[in-house]
């Protein structure tokens, strides 16, 4: 397969398409915030020490009496300038707080996606090359079981087996490991195994079925028959000719599943107490820390949009017909 360069025009076009979706997301989030009852100055209203004039002046100063679109505009400008507000609970800027937590989440999500792909592609391809065989049926059943198992239950069962019964793995994720060198990395890997497995198996189960149907679609095409009739071995036909084409739609699916991966990450971070943005979201919700909640929701929405962009660009790279349309 000849690798070609994605035209710059295509990338720019995709970047421009991203802007309205990000704006749309910000509108959705802001309208939720604006529609929600409750007023930051409610407490002042019940406080007899604050006279009504002071309250009115404060409201005017923070622009609470402005029309909705003006408040949205101010909010958006502040967001773009990196002023995401101040966490009531942690006593620090929301952006700093999120930046501290984000890498852990990205590592866990990335590792679990790699695990999911590493399981799904071989199993899906094997199942598709022998449709309705015993292997196919077993794989299909396991895939069904895999995505019917809620992540919180799988997580608890893993803890029960590997931490409590066998005592092999720690079930609380710790950021402050007091070891250095190899021991440090080993501890980190050990505590990441269970969260990554839970997420990876869930994702992998959904992917297997998709890889299988995608390969089945391709395997019947004429060019595959041509390759076979040229005398190329079956194994080579599958790896060189079928899989390469069949994986193109899989790239899109992996990106489209990012919202689901984030949902799963929130749950697993909560179970294993991984200090990522998911557990930050839950703990700030339970502590009524609205600026953090808004920030994390916006960041996760942005990440999803960015992953979609990456998938689009990859897609254009893998399939030249798309980029030159």
């Amino acid at each position: 397969m000849q690798v070609h360069r994605v035209s710059r025009q295509y990338v720019i076009r995709k970047l421009l398409i991203m802007i309205p979706s990000l704006l749309g997301i910000s509108v959705v989030l802001f309208s939720l915030l604006a529609l929600a009852p409750g007023d930051p100055f409610d407490e002042l209203a019940t406080n007899p020490a604050v006279p009504p004039e002071v309250r009115a002046a404060l409201r005017a100063k923070f622009g609470l009496d402005d029309p909705v679109w003006m408040r949205y505009w101010h909010w958006l400008i502040a967001l773009l300038q990196g002023d995401w507000g101040f966490s009531f609970v942690s006593r620090m800027d929301v952006s700093t707080l999120i930046m501290q937590r984000l890498p852990v989440t990205l590592i866990v999500i990335g590792a679990s996606q790699i695990l999911a792909i590493a399981i799904a592609i071989p199993v899906g391809v094997l199942a598709a090359t022998r449709p309705y065989s015993l292997f196919d049926q077993v794989a299909n059943t396991f895939a069904f079981i895999g995505f019917s198992l809620p992540t919180f239950f799988t997580g608890l069962v893993l803890i029960l087996v590997f931490s409590i019964q066998l005592d092999w793995l720690p079930f609380v994720y710790r950021a402050d490991i007091a070891a250095t060198g190899w021991a440090f990395y080993w501890e980190h890997i050990k505590q990441s195994i269970m969260p990554v497995t839970v997420l990876g198996l869930f994702q992998g189960a959904a992917l297997v079925r998709f890889v299988r149907s995608s390969v089945l679609d391709v395997i019947r095409l004429d060019y595959v028959t041509t390759a076979r009739s040229k005398g190329i071995g079956e194994r080579k036909v599958i790896t060189r000719h079928v899989v390469r084409t069949a994986l193109i739609p899989v790239v899109t699916l992996v990106a489209l599943q990012m919202p689901i991966v984030f949902s799963g990450a929130i749950v697993t971070e909560q179970i294993f107490r991984v200090p990522g943005i998911g557990s930050l979201l839950i703990s700030s919700m339970l502590a009524n820390d609205t600026p953090v909640v808004m920030g994390v929701t916006f960041v996760s929405a942005c990440l999803v949009v960015i992953f979609n962009l990456i998938a689009d660009i990859l897609y254009g790279w893998l399939d030249p017909r798309i980029a030159f349309r």
Partner: protein, 275 residues
Amino acid sequence: MALVSALALAVILFAVLAGPFIWRVPINEIDFAAKLQGPSWKHPLGTDDLGQDLLSRLIYGGRISIAVGFAAMVVAIFFGVLVGAIAGMSSGRVDAALMWVTDLFLSLPQLPLLLLVIYLFREPVKGVLGVEGGAFVLIVAVIGGTRWMSAARLVRAQFLSLREKEFVEAARALGASRLRQVTQHILPNALGPVIVVATIDVAAAIIAESTLSFLGLGFPSDVPTWGSVLRDAKDYLDIAPHWALFPGALIFITVLAINFIGDGLRDALDPRRVL
């Protein structure tokens, strides 16, 4: 597989619906002498940390979880069919705008959004409808409101191809109004795939509700649902594993059964799929 699943689901539905009339132990009877016990004749599924009977709590919780699943599915399918039908019948700008909104909602991370809505609107809705009713309405509304997109795209695609078919053209030639064309001719023919999506939506909604309750942002923990029982149980995994295993297994079996039924329906309703 689908038949076995239908049977399993029927058993669970029957147990949940008829259970309270057969197993008459109250869900909130506290008995510290019998706390954290494993399964026994007196408490077939054991007890929790307050000595409350798990069987009756799970029966009650199952009613809520399954009711939420079906109600959220109805909401999601209603909006999905509505948006999809409007987009499919009107072409041009309306269609493009509706599909843009659909794609936007598809790219929003669902769980953070669900959590955000519940976080912002929990208190006021509780004030209007009471603790349990408020939580029910809110959870059904948000799960349904964030799951209509796949149904909408499906219905739109079906409408786009069906509205050009001869039988619809014939109806149009006979002077049928647009509404009549849609309700009498197009919609009934688009229903097959919608039923499949609806089935799978029930399973997804049950998982979504359990996840919310598990995270402590769904039903309050004095209202037992499968998710909230699991939430309470997760801190006692080492001494009372049965407490977590039973609700988890119930969620799993229900969801698996519904997914298998959906798969079976897909095979049954799609005559084109050979091989």
